[in-house]
Point group: C2
Chain length 419, copies 2
């Protein structure tokens, strides 16, 4: 949204009126939650068939393997084939995990710290740094914080991270071993990395020979507008530029089928796949192959995936539209906030005047509207300008979303007026 001249003084004059409206909001006793990117129950209903699949006599994979028994660390062939296009690699270079792609990311970092990567020795936590485009995803940051890995924020623009910043940092600091990227419909801004940015990420010179892009393509097929955004293929570009092992690609069906009972996946170069399997081999005999089969039976093929994602979009888009509509109506004329209008993904990013994000979230909470904590989109939960708020419109119903967006808008105006 383009910035409008801020009318702060006028808002201050309306302070009492805003306080009266806020008192009424509190009195309404709302209990709304827009804190996390959880699918709504009717989205989960789209996959209800999964709950009785694969059926009592259907347990044999295409390679004749009994999915009920032990074995096959990499995942059954038909599951790897189904998800290979989502990752942009061949089925040979896919590993299917259990339900959480975050777990695969965590384990890739834990393994690098304990054992090193395919290109180098164990990372020393005290000499390991990750770049994180901000605003970004708090659970990415939390993994690094858990292990004492330093995080350097870089600016996330509408076309991806500020590559001038990134190139300069990675070229000169050998402690920079990794970078978090949500390349499509970024959490929370909805930014889509441009081909030029992706090419620069693949090509850039890094002081660390074992630098890794943690390419969390969580929203690879999560379009809101019917039209799929396509992004450049990071694994192919890394190979083209002589950095074949640079990108670890992650995805999952958490926001495709069942958020808590889907399958996660990893795609990368042959050397990285070999490395991951060698590490996983000490950890488990294999992931849940019945759940892999269940997903293949339900999703069938790329057309099946696309059809399901259209149904999700039909549920989600009105919610996103409603938030944007309410923000425009309630906040647009005041020029005190900007927000994103993503074409996919799960979040809207709201920027309020510097120093007010915590206050807005606090006001909303007191009125029964739970938002993601202010600061969560920055490392250590500290937004240096205290201005960014992540809005997660997926879980509540449309009527609740309307109330919540109106409530948040009022909280923004009141916070400005109070100041």
């Amino acid at each position: 949204m383009a910035a409008t001249p801020a009318r702060v003084n006028e808002l201050r004059a309306l302070r009492e009126q805003l306080q009266t409206r806020y008192a009424a909001l509190k009195a309404a006793g709302l209990t709304l939650n827009m804190a996390r990117g959880k699918p709504a129950a009717n989205q989960l209903d789209l996959s209800k068939e999964l709950l009785s699949l694969p059926g009592a006599s259907d347990y044999t994979a295409s390679n004749k393997e009994d999915c009920r028994n032990y074995g096959n660390l990499q995942g059954i062939p038909e599951a790897r084939e189904l998800f290979a296009p989502v990752l942009g690699v061949s089925a040979d270079n896919v590993v299917i995990g259990d339900n959480s792609s975050l777990a695969l990311m965590h384990d890739c970092i834990a393994f690098a710290l304990l054992k090193g990567t395919a290109d180098g020795a164990a990372w020393q936590p005290s000499a390991t740094t990750f770049l994180c485009p901000v605003p970004g995803y708090d659970r990415h940051f939390a993994i690094c914080e858990e292990f004492g890995i330093k995080l350097i924020p870089v600016t996330l623009n509408d076309d991806g991270p500020d590559m001038d910043q990134v190139e300069q940092l990675v070229a000169n600091d050998p402690s920079i071993k990794g970078m978090w990227c949500v390349p499509k419909y970024s959490n929370p801004t909805g930014a889509i990395y441009s081909d030029a940015v992706i090419e620069r990420l693949a090509r850039m010179k890094t002081a660390a020979g074992d630098f890794r892009l943690f390419w969390d393509n969580a929203y690879a097929i999560h379009h809101l507008n019917g039209e799929a955004a396509t992004i450049a293929n990071i694994v192919e570009l890394c190979a083209k530029h002589g950095n074949p092992n640079r990108a670890y690609v992650f995805a999952s069906t958490s926001k495709v089928t069942l958020a808590g009972a889907g399958v996660a996946m990893f795609g990368s170069s042959p050397a990285n796949v070999k490395w991951l399997l060698a590490r996983m081999n000490q950890r488990t005999i294999g992931s849940d192959k019945v759940n892999q089969l269940r997903h293949v039976r339900f999703l069938r093929d790329q057309d099946g995936l696309k059809a399901l994602m259209k149904q999700h979009a039909a549920i989600l888009k009105p919610k996103f539209d409603k938030v944007v509509e309410v923000f425009q109506k309630e906040l647009g004329e005041w020029g005190v906030a900007t927000w994103t209008q993503p074409t996919g993904g799960y979040f809207i990013s709201l920027d309020v005047p510097d120093g007010l994000a915590r206050r807005v979230v606090q006001l909303a909470k007191e009125a029964g509207i739970v938002l993601t904590p202010a600061g969560a989109t920055f490392p250590l939960g500290q937004d240096p300008r205290d201005r960014n708020i992540r809005i997660a419109p997926s879980f509540p119903g449309l009527e609740e979303i309307t109330k919540a967006a109106e409530g948040v808008s009022l909280c923004v105006l009141l916070a400005v007026a109070e100041k």
Copy 2:
């Protein structure tokens, strides 16, 4: 089996005859596998209902949670209640994981190396040692080998590890941070830890204040003879002796329901549960709750578990009996081998004369009978006496088991005669 005087010279005299029989065995072109403790297909069939559970409209846990969605790192209450008695802790102190208890063990070690335990700082791999009763389970050893953790073998007797050895080692060496234990129907000997041994493990003084028993109760309910062996409660005894956080207890339904698609579980003290959840919280939003619900719906309660395990025993016991019967018939009179007769679990442990285990496994392999590699039951795959062979009778059918046991017996006799 009691030892019989060895009749090695007589066997040598029969060498040519044994070679002729072995040539015939090879000519038969067998392809039998007794290498791993995999359930047979008809055991997996016992849980076929799982493949269409929980059903399209059944996804709500007892706490009203939608099992399809994100959340609940610890596991749904009814799953924790169902498995609490298996672990010997209250449901509050159970964590349900995904399908692999090995993964929970691996992660407990990885977390200790990266973050420390509830009782101390991060373990340094170069200054971390585990005790391992031998013969033992190769995948336990492999986790330690992966991370550069030193393994010290201790003797496993019929009533558990040699506690004089264990007590002396842990009292004097602060690098000893852990010990692998399969307390019931041990892999591979079938040994059951006596109450006296368990009490000493709970009570013993350890130089390391953050020493942990990795209590892999993999065969907690896996009785072969109808009668459940009961062992002392390690978590309670550790608490009684002032070492409340000493034991991590692990189990899974891998050999109860579906080997590749079951649920794994962890039980311990409140402090250890809190510690594990704090670590897991960076890794995942939660394990697969639909699979937890599926298991609760299928297994129902303790009686349901017991009834299912009886059906497993009905399939497994004839296989174990057959191996022992063939060994007795073919090997008994020669006094060159001893074997265990377990009352539960998944393995029979066969000891041949020193220096011959590798040769026996090699001969068997050439005749189409795949056994667990000789040495696998010792750290680094090196059996110092080269005498122990793990026999896994669960997977092949009864007719194949008979042929395999006869083949292995012939290989033992030939190996002795060759020497």
